[in-house]
Symmetry: C2
Subunit: 184 residues, 2 copies
């Protein structure tokens, strides 16, 4: 999920702490947004403040690592839908899942933020595959392009975050978007 295998592998306790910190950070930032304090993360991870900074020299690094992990999970999810799912519904299924996930777990904030260009590109590629398959199956209008889908994805996730939508409102809102994508 992380650790691109540096020179020496992390010591066992360090690995445990790193994982605890990331888990705590996910919860803390989900509740308090990106302005939540690293001190709170340390507290919840059951770790001293210095330990957080040993693993992530900067708060921004911590946020970035978090986002990277989340993005990779999402991308993996999309990739699976793109190979095993029904071509006609895979794209819609993916958007639906991501919006639900975003609403449940506020951390996906700033999902498409700037400094993750690598992971974002991977996601965009997988979404592109989902789109192509849907178009080949005749389920989505052919003139729709990948960047519109990404923009729509971003928009609906952001919307689901800031407004606190009911399940019903979410479904009806996505239904409008899906109708806009669908070939008649």
């Amino acid at each position: 999920m992380s650790r691109p295998s540096q020179a020496r592998p992390l010591r066992a306790d360090a690995q445990r702490n790193r994982a605890k910190i990331l888990a705590a950070a996910e919860r803390v930032f989900a509740e308090g947004g990106p302005d939540a304090s690293t001190g709170e993360v340390a507290r919840r991870a059951g770790v001293a403040a210095g330990t957080v900074f040993r693993h992530f020299p900067t708060k921004a690094d911590l946020l970035q690592a978090l986002m990277k992990d989340l993005l990779e999970q999402v991308t993996a999810d999309a990739a699976e839908l793109a190979t095993t799912g029904d071509p006609a519904t895979g794209l819609f299924e993916f958007v639906d899942r991501l919006v639900r996930r975003t609403a449940a777990n506020r951390t996906v904030v700033g999902l498409l933020a700037v400094p993750l260009s690598g992971p974002i590109t991977s996601l965009a590629e997988v979404v592109g595959r989902l789109l192509t398959r849907a178009q080949e199956a005749g389920a989505v209008r052919p003139e729709v392009r990948r960047d519109e889908v990404m923009a729509l994805l971003e928009s609906t996730c952001q919307g689901a975050l800031s407004g606190n939508w009911t399940d019903d409102l979410r479904d009806r809102t996505l239904a409008v978007v899906f109708r806009g994508l669908r070939a008649e």
Copy 2:
């Protein structure tokens, strides 16, 4: 645009300063987001820090006053479209304008934030009028409800903010949404 006429009217210089502060705040928060400092607002308004706090006891009050003003402008714009515009295109025209405005001027962030319940309700009402007119003109599917339109509005504005869309991308993205709303 503001001042619900309290007991005594503001002194002339105080009125000028209040206006300068709001104008500066709009620029500052547009550039730096809601985390920009009130000190910077004071500096740009050419006013001492204390003066800002005399007019707005709290940073939150300042933000709220700003949002209220902006919302009122937007609502007035919508209201005009709802009376003088073409019923079939008024709603689409309004969404398009608001998204453009949001992209150009980041301040509309958190447009639909919590503590503005009054002004937001007015906007929602006017949007409801635009929607009804469009539906009566046969331009929008009859089962679409006001809250979906508001949710879509919020989403696309947020999207236009965080992603930095090109004009072309914005048009294509909105086109998808509009197609989803439109009756065939």
